[in-house]
């Protein structure tokens, strides 16, 4: 049983039921100068890291996550304000500064170990994860973790603790039993004596109390803001042009930089001819960063024009022969080799697969592939840096301010404390903005040029210098008996990343063997919305459909039968099927497909309707049933489902980063195609609050859409999509065969 320590600034503890408290309690007189100057005015005090109460009775939630449209700033504030019984009109938020005190430990714990740790082990495990995250310097927004980790284990606990402390302080001040007091709309009320005072009256006294180790949290039926779709804080500024993104940073005297990095990953500059560029109007400097060249000029367009005039010879380090084909040949060879050598790492071994295959009446096999994908957030990557007087100040938009600070400090060989990162709104992240390469470049350019520099990547640079969603090859075998029952499921694939459970299936199949081997390439990779779920969701839910077809069963009923011990999964699947009108016969050229995915703590079932004509696929409608345990902001959850679906559909239909001569062949939106308004389907989302532990929202909508689409295309055409993207297929619809008349 942990308590919030009163010595340091980082406090953490465990509460009954496996809950995890992480917070920063700031004792008056013992706060860091940095923190107080950033988050507290003279007449304010910090009650703890996640809540501040001003003399004006305004409650400010301090959110250790960035806002990239997922609504975390608002949802997390709802969680805090609800537990605090705050008056919503007096509630606002601010994003936590990039300080170590705000590292979000629960997130790392979620990534590294899941949330379900036996209570008896919790103190130890938490200690380990605390250390791990301190080392990793995390302040990441990712893993769909804001609500389910920071919200549940941070904001709600902090809000409840603040409320308890205010009640205790008021009871002391009025000399009445605490049980006679209520907290309501940012007021402490004593009914018996008809007294009521704003929270602020007691804030400083409350701040001197020892925080309760286990502040009581509200029951669901008492929620006031949680479960309501509160208007998002960030939206008004996003309709009148006043929202400020990283690219909008303005620093006195700043110049603009355009950059190009070696097209073949891993390459370096051999020679540089910048004579033409240096003479051009507005050009201030041409800088060689070893693996990249940048031009700094008075205006961005001038920098771009001049960069195009720089002659660069690159060393490709022997990677210039790689193509997407050679990479998939390598994957295939490594899978064959792992088979020969029996050199696998297992995700799941259940029962006895070889006996099941030996006894099978029918065996089906398939090989699936997905290509590399770029993230392509709308706001091109950018950072403004000013290295001066022993400090490096950086203005950017990123998913990991503390990680960026550490990366920049390492690159400049300075202490973390001398790097200050200001984080603005993100014009999209999707995982790309968790990696600090662009901010490091900006800092190095400012250091080299001796002036504040705003570095903006061109779209071409964004497409060609990403950390890509990895290409994956995945092979399946399934064994069926004479009745169509599935005896065994075998899945072997190349290259595993996170989360570990992504290739696992929920279906009750007695014999399962799921395993992988490594096959590294020279192509840099990184997390892409829903990470490994985005590939394995497509693989497993497409192959499940193949098995259903082989068993002569309908894709929905086939799944349902294999979920009989998983009522939550069944309920989500049933709701999607029901709302979609599953089972109705469709005219020729139309098809319907279903999928089920569990990712980031949230269950999603999707049904896609397509029309195929003249070889083209049109997605008409998507029905999405989602069980996040509890929807903190139902409309924000719906928005994230819509967003995840369109992001995933774009990838499934069009997404392909093709490697040619060791480099990326695509360059901009004309050849890295995006879904647009006219191709955007009608989307219906239905929410189930099952009461299960709360799950994420930003990513779970993405992984199930590609298989639901592929299954719908199979239904319409008889063509099984085993290699994305769909645009590479020449599809013709088939004539639906009439039911056999007996």
């Amino acid at each position: 049983m942990g308590k919030w320590t009163r010595r340091g600034f980082v406090t953490a503890g465990v509460i009954a039921g496996g809950g995890f408290i992480v917070g920063v309690a700031i004792r008056p007189g013992n706060r860091t100068i940095e923190l107080s100057s950033l988050v507290a005015a003279d007449d304010e005090m910090l009650v703890n890291s996640w809540v501040k109460i001003g003399a004006d009775n305004r409650v400010t939630a301090i959110i250790p996550h960035c806002e990239m449209g997922q609504g975390a700033h608002t949802s997390l504030t709802q969680m805090l304000a609800d537990e605090m019984d705050a008056d919503w009109a007096l509630v606002s938020m601010m994003e936590a500064p990039a300080k170590a005190e705000y590292a979000n430990y629960p997130l790392a714990r979620g990534f590294l170990g899941g949330f379900d740790v036996p209570a008896v082990l919790s103190p130890t495990v938490n200690g380990i994860f605390l250390q791990a995250t301190q080392v990793m310097n995390l302040q990441i927004t990712g893993g769909s973790a804001s609500v389910r980790a920071t919200g549940v284990y941070g904001m709600r606990v902090a809000g409840a603790a603040a409320r308890e402390m205010l009640l205790t302080a008021a009871a002391d001040a009025w000399q009445v039993p605490k049980a006679e007091l209520t907290a309501r709309d940012s007021m402490i009320v004593h009914e018996a004596s008809k007294r009521s005072e704003p929270y602020a009256t007691f804030a400083s006294a409350a701040g001197r109390l020892t925080p309760p180790a286990e502040p009581p949290r509200k029951r669901m039926e008492d929620f006031k803001f949680m479960g309501k779709s509160m208007p998002r804080f960030d939206i008004p500024a996003k309709v009148d042009g006043s929202a400020r993104f990283g690219i909008d940073a303005e620093v006195p005297g700043m110049k603009y930089a355009s950059i190009v990095r070696t097209p073949v990953f891993g390459g370096e500059i051999v020679s540089l001819d910048d004579r033409g560029a240096r003479d051009m109007a507005g050009v201030r400097d041409v800088i060689d960063l070893g693996n990249a060249v940048a031009v700094i000029a008075d205006g961005y367009w001038q920098a771009q024009q001049a960069l195009a005039k720089v002659g660069i010879e690159w060393d490709t380090k022997g990677n210039d022969a790689a193509t997407t084909e050679t990479i998939f040949q390598q994957f295939g060879a490594d899978l064959d080799s792992a088979t020969e050598r029996e050199a696998w790492q297992a995700d799941r071994e259940l029962g006895d697969v070889s006996t099941a295959f030996a006894e099978a009446d029918q065996i089906i096999e398939a090989e699936y592939r997905v290509p590399y994908l770029a993230h392509a957030p709308m706001e091109p990557l950018n950072a403004t840096a000013w290295v001066r007087d022993g400090i490096c100040e950086v203005w950017t938009s990123c998913q990991n301010p503390l990680g960026f600070r550490a990366e920049i400090a390492a690159a400049l060989d300075v202490d973390d404390e001398t790097v200050i990162v200001h984080n603005a709104y993100l014009g999209g992240g999707f995982g790309r903005r968790a990696q600090g390469d662009y901010a490091v470049q900006a800092a190095r350019l400012s250091a080299a040029a001796g002036m504040p520099v705003k570095l903006i990547w061109s779209r071409e640079e964004d497409i060609r210098q990403d950390n890509y969603r990895p290409a994956v090859m995945s092979r399946f075998r399934a064994a069926l008996d004479t009745t169509g029952r599935v005896l065994a499921w075998q899945n072997q694939y190349v290259d595993k990343h996170e989360p570990a459970e992504a290739p696992l299936i929920p279906y009750a199949i007695d014999n399962q063997l799921i395993r992988y081997t490594d096959s590294p390439t020279h192509v840099p990779f990184g997390p892409w919305r829903s990470v490994d779920h985005s590939q394995h969701g497509f693989f497993t839910e497409s192959f499940a459909d193949e098995v259903a077809v082989a068993a002569g069963q309908d894709g929905y009923r086939f799944r349902r039968d294999l979920l009989k011990d998983l009522p939550r999964e069944r309920a989500v699947l049933d709701l999607a099927a029901e709302k979609s009108g599953w089972g109705a016969s469709l005219p020729d050229g139309r098809g319907r497909g279903i999928s089920l995915q569990y990712s980031f703590g949230t269950l999603v079932a999707q049904v896609v309707d397509v029309t195929v004509s003249d070889g083209d696929v049109r997605v008409d409608r998507v029905v999405c049933a989602v069980d996040p345990g509890f929807a903190v902001s139902p409309d924000a959850l719906v928005a994230q489902m819509e967003s995840g679906i369109i992001y995933g559909l774009t990838a499934a239909l069009y997404g392909e980063i093709y490697i040619d001569n060791g480099a990326v062949a695509q360059s901009n939106f004309h050849d890295y195609q995006m879904l647009r308004m006219a191709e955007s389907p009608a989307i219906e989302t239905y929410i189930i609050n099952s009461g299960a532990p709360w799950g994420g929202a930003g990513e779970p909508g993405t992984p199930g859409i590609a298989p639901a689409l592929a299954n719908a295309i199979f239904d319409a055409t008889g063509t099984r999509i085993r290699r994305l993207p769909v645009k590479n297929y020449d599809l013709q619809f088939r004539i639906h065969e009439p039911e056999e008349v007996v």
């Binding site: 690219i247 367009w301 409309d635 647009r676």
Partner: protein, 164 residues
Amino acid sequence: MIELKINGQTRSVEADPATPLLWIVRERFGLLGTKFGCGISQCGACTVHLNGVPVRSCVTPLAAAEGGDVTTIEGIGGDGLSALQQAWIDEQVPQCGYCQSGQLMSATALLEANPNPTDDDIDKAMQGNICRCGTYPRIRRAIKRAANPGLARVQRFDREVTHG
């Protein structure tokens, strides 16, 4: 010195006439609501109105705007919000928000030319604007809401939820 009107004000600027209007608007006039997205008129994030017509400012040279009338996102609401901007809030359209200035500029031009657009009209007018967050369904609803103030309000803040 090149002179043009921007959001009703006459401004002049000393710059290479080939400079894309986007960078003049952002760097020289400090109007940061107009965004850079692709540089080749593929995404629409930089959309402004030139003499009432939506153009991609990333490929529109300053010379083409000489003596012209340019409107940016900062200029469409007057003193408050336009009906479209209000509909964007009512439908909670933006997510990351980066493309939304461009989306609003295209939608504003659509409604000025066609006060009651069909779905096909919306598809055509908005086809040049990419949104990576996938706000298209909400953009469509917001345009319809602005076009039909009498339209029944979607109960956006009171969604139905099944309790399992």
